[in-house]
């Protein structure tokens, strides 16, 4: 059976998170390339999941979902988009059975037959009683995903919930663990599993009567919340890379022109029919901290190295494997080409030199601190008391340009001359954006 695809839900949530509130139903559906009926259905489903998962959310959250996902920085510590990963569809009888089995095994180890008896006793009346084969199947599944463990002693095997990680810890230790998981899930990538674990630990703390003051002490400033949506594809890609296996997918990229800007136009707002079928040997995944976006980088026999925004990947399927030698050759080649990429540009390398001006005010030199912290492999040479030079060899100027520009008048581009000219032209134009109207003078 083909794996259930969450492409639609992911696109849907991404649009809500990014452009929240901007569109009417009609406009929203149009941009996703779905009917208004499908829009309504998807929204209803997502609302249902959200209200089930976040029972303690304020009442108007359902309304907010249709108007966009808005974070109130000081009030929500839970990663709202995590509920995407709760979207796997399941028959009600199965969801009841799985939770009954797990609940039965929380505190005691039981054999399959004992589990079956316990479940039969607690199954609601309107559902048929599970047979032995079904229960054994469920136990096998739960054991495979590591939620329960089978005891070492011989047959009949006994099963128990795998909760040692929580039950073996004192209250103090559990708080430390919660903090660690919260901090690592928020500051490192990938994070979805960390957030899932955080949910579990939060529950465990609540069971020990420790409330929100315990579970919400931390804030993370300037977080890219939507980054976790792209992690949905991460494990499929990881698996394929491990197995040296090609991937087939439909890429929702718009125009195929060569210009940089059009390469970055949003595939999200394009209709599915405009997608392009691609076949690629995946080599690496790039996470761009400037935007909180993911890229898939791989090799395609016709075009060589190719880069795709993860958000444009849909209908991913596994293809054939390639010999190890071919894979490592291509990987080595890619790594060499990415060495000087500010993000993913593998074009011709350019030497960029910029003069930075230290702030006039005394105290911390935040210009230099930022250049040191974000300037990647570039080097700094002191020039005068008030300036220093930053030099870097980088593939193409397109990716580094916004970063240099973000420093405003603290940065003067020296080389290449063409980039210097571009900066002058851009600042002139930006200046016109804010000129007082002449009529006023």
């Amino acid at each position: 059976m083909a794996r259930e695809s969450f492409d639609k839900e992911i696109q849907f949530l991404r649009m809500l998170a990014l452009a929240g509130g901007a569109y009417s139903r009609q406009q929203f559906a149009e941009r996703l390339g779905i009917s208004v009926h499908t829009f309504d259905k998807t929204l209803r489903y997502l609302k249902e999941i959200m209200s089930t998962v976040y029972q303690r959310l304020p009442r108007d959250q359902g309304k907010e979902l249709s108007e966009g996902l808005r974070y109130n920085y000081y009030e929500s510590a839970d990663p709202l988009l995590l509920f995407l990963f709760r979207a796997k569809s399941l028959k009600e009888s199965e969801s009841i059975r799985l939770s009954l089995i797990l609940t039965t095994l929380q505190l005691q180890s039981l054999t399959a037959m004992e589990v079956m008896d316990a479940c039969s006793g607690s199954m609601p009346d309107d559902f048929s009683l599970p047979d032995e084969k079904t229960i054994r199947g469920d136990l096998k599944y739960l054991e495979e995903i590591g939620v329960i463990v089978r005891s070492e002693s011989g047959r009949p095997y006994r099963y128990k919930a795998a909760n040692d990680l929580v039950t073996q810890l004192s209250d103090e230790e559990l708080i430390d663990l919660f903090d660690f998981v919260d901090i690592m899930a928020n500051t490192q990538v990938p994070s979805v599993q960390g957030y899932l674990l955080r949910d579990n630990l939060k529950k465990a703390l609540r069971q020990r009567s420790m409330d929100a003051t315990v579970t919400e002490p931390f804030l993370y400033k300037y977080h890219y919340h939507s980054r976790i949506l792209d992690e949905a594809h991460l494990y499929t890609i990881f698996q394929a890379i491990r197995q040296r296996r090609k991937l087939r997918f439909l890429y929702l990229s718009p125009k195929r022109t060569k210009s940089y800007s059009s390469k970055n136009t949003n595939p999200l707002f394009e209709r599915e029919t405009e997608g392009v079928a691609e076949m690629l040997l995946p080599l690496r995944v790039v996470y761009d901290h400037q935007y909180g976006r993911w890229y898939l980088i791989g090799h395609n026999s016709r075009q060589g190295i190719m880069k795709f925004r993860m958000e444009g990947l849909t209908q991913i399927e596994e293809g054939d494997t390639v010999p190890e030698e071919e894979f490592s050759h291509k990987l080595a080649n890619l790594e060499e080409q990415l060495r000087h990429s500010w993000v993913t540009d593998t074009g011709r390398s350019v030497r960029v030199v910029a003069r930075f001006y230290n702030p006039d005010r005394s105290g911390a030199n935040f210009v230099k601190e930022r250049v040191l912290s974000q300037g990647q492999w570039g080097t700094i040479t002191e020039e005068t008391d008030s300036t220093f030079l930053y030099e870097i060899t980088v593939n193409g100027i397109f990716e580094i340009k916004p970063w240099l520009r973000s420093f405003g008048s603290s940065c003067e581009v020296i080389e290449p001359a063409s980039l210097r000219r571009e900066f002058i032209a851009e600042w002139k134009e930006i200046q016109t954006y804010y000129e007082p109207l002449r009529e006023d003078l």
């Binding site: 998962v53 990938p190 579990n200 931390f218 002058i424």
Partner: protein
């Protein structure tokens, strides 16, 4: 490994919640095991707890996924953990007050500052920790780098005082909220995704006017965060224009004319003024 496991299904989770049951999967434990190898773990746990956790996770497989991920343009990771996190967060659990000694920007140490801790905040940009607290002597909301804290001790507070301080903090945060509206310059609508991604780290709403095909981003931020917002706006260059917030508009104009001055370009407008 699959992030869309049946066991993560929302109905299962809600039933488990009701029954007070846990479902810990091996992928969650594997993630933890991998992260425990991060140097931050030694600041996060006592040696005893860390050893205990490692033992509990001994049988798990590491997720080696970081091998295939290349992180780009990440700020230098000054710290992920800070030794004071554990101390401060314990004081916060007890709703305790604090007495701080901390270094200030221009040198020197402020000593015996009393206050009430509110949150511990990590800046994803600077990659370091701050304590947000209310200074009860100066009646001010403070944000102090943990790196700059020389010493901290707990001061016990009566519970009615705690409630009052919490209310005061909420008011203060509200009063410092500012708004700005940023418009996407229409020519750059095809780059909308990138622009929205850049603003996705702010509290914001987006509106769209179909007749003029114009997008507007309404950003809510705290006063002292305007510098970061401005750097984002400069980052995007000609793509966006501030349409509401006189203060930010003036700052952008200054930025542009000062930048042009660096290149030796005189601008007639300012001179005339």
């Amino acid at each position: 490994m699959n992030l869309f496991e049946k066991i993560f299904n929302y109905q299962v989770i809600s039933r488990l919640d009701e029954a007070g049951s846990l479902a810990l999967t091996s992928q969650e434990r594997g993630w933890l095991k991998t992260l425990l190898e991060h140097p931050a773990s030694s600041d996060a746990f006592t040696a005893g707890t860390l050893a205990k956790l490692q033992l509990l996770l001994k049988a798990e497989a590491n997720t080696e996924i970081s091998d295939v991920i290349i992180e780009k343009v990440k700020s230098h990771e000054r710290q992920v953990y800070h030794p004071l996190l554990r101390t401060l967060r314990r004081i916060m659990i007890r709703s305790g007050g604090i007495r701080l000694n901390y270094r200030i920007k221009h040198g020197g140490v402020k000593s015996d500052q009393t206050g009430f801790p509110y949150k511990l905040e990590y800046s994803m940009i600077k990659r370091e920790w701050y304590l947000i607290w209310y200074n009860t002597h100066h009646h001010m909301l403070m944000s102090t780098k943990l790196l700059n804290i020389v010493s901290v001790e707990e001061v016990s507070l009566p519970s009615d005082r705690v409630e009052m301080l919490k209310a005061k903090l909420a008011d203060l945060l509200d009063s410092r909220q500012e708004q700005a509206a940023i418009e996407v310059v229409r020519t750059y609508n095809p780059e909308l995704s990138r622009i929205l991604y850049a603003f996705s780290c702010f509290e914001k709403t987006v509106s769209y006017e179909e007749s003029s095909d114009t997008y507007r981003i309404q950003v809510t931020f705290l006063g002292d965060e305007s510098e970061f917002l401005l750097s984002k706006i400069r980052f995007l260059g000609k793509r966006v224009r501030i349409v509401e917030s006189e203060n930010l508009k003036r700052r952008m104009q200054e930025s542009a004319s000062k930048a042009l001055a660096r290149y030796g370009v005189e601008e007639p407008n300012l001179k005339r003024l």
